[in-house]
Amino acid sequence: MTIRQAILGGTALFALTLPAGAEMQPSLAFTGVTGLIDMPSGDQQSDGVLSFTKSQFGPVGRTTLSFQITPRLSGSFRYSAVHDWAGVVPSTFATYYDRSFDVRYQIAREGRYMPAVTVGFQDVIGTGQHAGEYIAATKTFGDKIKVTAGLGWGRYGSYGSIGAPFGERPEIDYGTGGKPRLGQWFKGDAAPFAGVEWQMSNKLTFKAEYSSDAYLEEAGRRKTFDRKSPFNFGVEYGNGRGMKFGLYSLYGSEIGLSVQLAIDPHKSPSGGSVGPGPLPVSARPAASGWSSDWVNDRGSLTAMRDGAQTILSHDGIVVESLAVNRTTAQLRIRNTKLDNAPQAIGRSARALAAVLPPSVEVFEIVPVVQGVAISRVVIRRSDLEQLEFAAGQDGLMWQRAQVLSASRRAPDGAVIGQGLYPKFTWKASPYIATSLFDPTNPLQADLGVRVTARYDVAPGLYFSGSVTKKIVGNIDGTGRPSDSVLPHVRSDANQYAANGDPAIERLTAAWYAKPGQNLYSRVTVGYLEPMYGGVSAELLWKQTDKPYALGAEIAYVKQRNFDQLFGFRDYSIVTGHVSGYYAFGSGFHAQVDVGRYLAGDLGATFSLDREFASGVKVGAFATLTDVPFSKFGEGSFDKGIRIELPLAWLSGKPTQKTSKVTLRPLLRGGGARLDVEDRLYNSVRDYHATDLDAAWGRFWR
């Protein structure tokens, strides 16, 4: 009873007192960038925030994905639709669909007197239909009011112009799109815009703005709606966990709605990992009692292995082998469940402390992925005992632990894990396939069942397969047939999507090995992916303690039949790449692949990903090849955005499942790559120093 009273009495103390101003959330505009209602602001989201905005007023709808790439830089990808497009002016489209991409940079952060100032470029590489540039300044007053004023060009300079300070805006033929229109930036008429936000409570925000967008094409020429007034008003309700709903009055004639979802990787929905706590580190008895009679006793070693396996099975860690001498033990593990690599190392060390004789002081933990030893993490048992309850224990342990390269084989005399090879496993699970951006039906989806099976023959050698059967869905393959003048290496995706029922997604034999100290290899043979079959070989050079790596990959593949069963079409090609990888630190990972693509085109792919230790990843890629933009077709070159959200980050439960999405405005033949499963770099680096360091906070978890 007394406790309950104490709680109620103390409620006021639970909230942290935060500095003034920090409580106002930067809000999102109809365009999905940080802003007011239809106008942008000088604010930015918190570093790393990923947001989805769906908005609609009258005939104008937009769906936008935005990412705060760094604290000052953000990017947005938008899919927009304007209905009634052909109502007045004839057009082949009844609804005009378009994709656009924005970049924003905050040139000044908000200070005591200084407003936050952002320069934005809207629709930088699309068709230019939505193109506009702006400078916007936003100042917070107290902790409830934000005022924004800005100057816009392009779209944002089309209403209430004050003239063209930097000269006329040149007409540009966008051709097939996909190219930046540098010559237009900040040219032509400029117009001011402004607005104010009042955050009445944590949940309710009111907004008002003056818009400088005249909607010349949509309202002026095509009369899709009536722009009566430059003033917009709105109210937004947020649930405090990143979800917001808004209701607005736009341009004096339309009702607007918006739904916004902001995901902050720094705040996991579950708050963090909620799995069970670890086994406490067992104390060793006083030194005088230590004995080493067990060293040559095979039975004792087997008992230790079984002991470690029994303890580790709670965390889904499989003991591949255990070797112990008087002072050192080497445990080889396969982590099948924990989403965090250092946590698997920490739990393994705790298990060793529980089962090994006291004279064993050095624990070597060797993570094994696809049968291949990736690294050797060396931990001293006395450090484990000393730091178990120490403040700042993870940093201290990282200083004392070593990450070394692992030898190919377990030490002589190791006992091998039981029942690992050969082994057959299978599972069935539901799947969802989507087909986006088809102009006649932009969102199509199928739901079905996927059965996967795997037969492990020996370490590194296995057969695996994956079959899907559609149950329900509307992906019909009737969308625009490919007009690509290149070989249809990817552009018949709708045919594959519509005809594979059931489909053999993959059916392969794979062999992974470690041919040298810092070399990793893979050979995969069979039906490699839904569209191609053949043989693919890869070699990766990566040192355990370095942030860079080099790889090479070559494949001979034949295009598969649309039905995705056993037959092939008559297109085959030798494709391959040389790849360079670099981790910049703070989670930025870059990759460059140079080589020959599926259509026989030569070129390079550049990708940059921002990754968090929790496994949340957001990245972008672009491929430039010797296929001319005009021959590539709409979009000019291959590019896209990819997002990966681990289920463990969402739920807090230990699991290695992740949800991955790659968004490409268009999938065409140029710059297309083979999609082989389990390429080497990503399976190796989790247990190398750079990634272990980033995720080490969970060693003691």
Partner: protein, 197 residues
């Protein structure tokens, strides 16, 4: 000195040195269980505490899993843990935004009313360790009546992220009977009370 009594049985070294596998198997039966469950359960009849997380509106029992000198590890049924040093909360496991480790004052510092520094290390949503350093003062509280026979002491701490107030009820023998201590921004406070039976 108090031995690590509860988990001592797991130290197979004893067994391996002189005996054969059957005893090893017997010792391991404590760890039997399915993936995803806690590796080890407290022994039956182990001492217990009440743990309350007011921000979540939950109150549950935790049992002593291990004692290592002044440090005690307590486990709940679902496998979540709290670690206390002389009664001061120094870590949690399985609460979401866990307190991974902490530098806590001694009871003497608290009873003498000295100003002191304190550090909390927690994991943010990206699994990155964040250190919060607090400067704390000690002041007498006025809620001693909630726990008859104790003194109520408040530790008020300030840091860049804000201020926190830990509360302690200390009995005449100089030990903590009850406390309400900060965990993290995601968890809020945890109230710990010794279960006397």
């Amino acid at each position: 000195m108090i031995p690590r009594s509860v988990v001592a049985a797991t130290t197979l070294a004893f067994l391996l040195a002189g005996c054969g596998s059957p005893i090893v198997k017997a010792g391991l039966s404590r760890f039997a269980g399915t993936p995803g469950t806690a590796t080890v359960q407290p022994a039956s009849g182990a001492p217990e505490i009440w743990l309350t997380l007011p921000q979540r509106g939950v109150k549950f029992t935790m049992s002593l899993l291990e004692q290592d000198g002044p440090v005690t590890v307590w486990a709940a049924k679902d496998g979540s843990q709290v670690v206390l040093r002389n009664g001061f909360l120094i870590s949690t496991r399985g609460f979401g935004r866990d307190l991974m480790s902490a530098e806590a004052p001694s009871l003497a510092t608290l009873t003498s009313g000295q100003a002191h520094q304190r550090s909390y290390f927690d994991l943010d949503g990206t699994d990155t360790t964040i250190r919060h350093s607090f400067t704390c003062t000690v002041e007498p509280g006025d809620k001693a009546a909630e726990m008859p026979g104790t003194r109520h002491v408040i530790e008020a701490c300030a840091a860049e992220i804000g201020t926190i107030r830990n509360e302690f009820w200390i009995d005449s023998a100089g030990s903590l009977r009850k406390s309400k201590q900060w965990v993290s921004q995601g968890v809020g406070y945890a109230a710990v009370e010794r279960k006397l039976d």
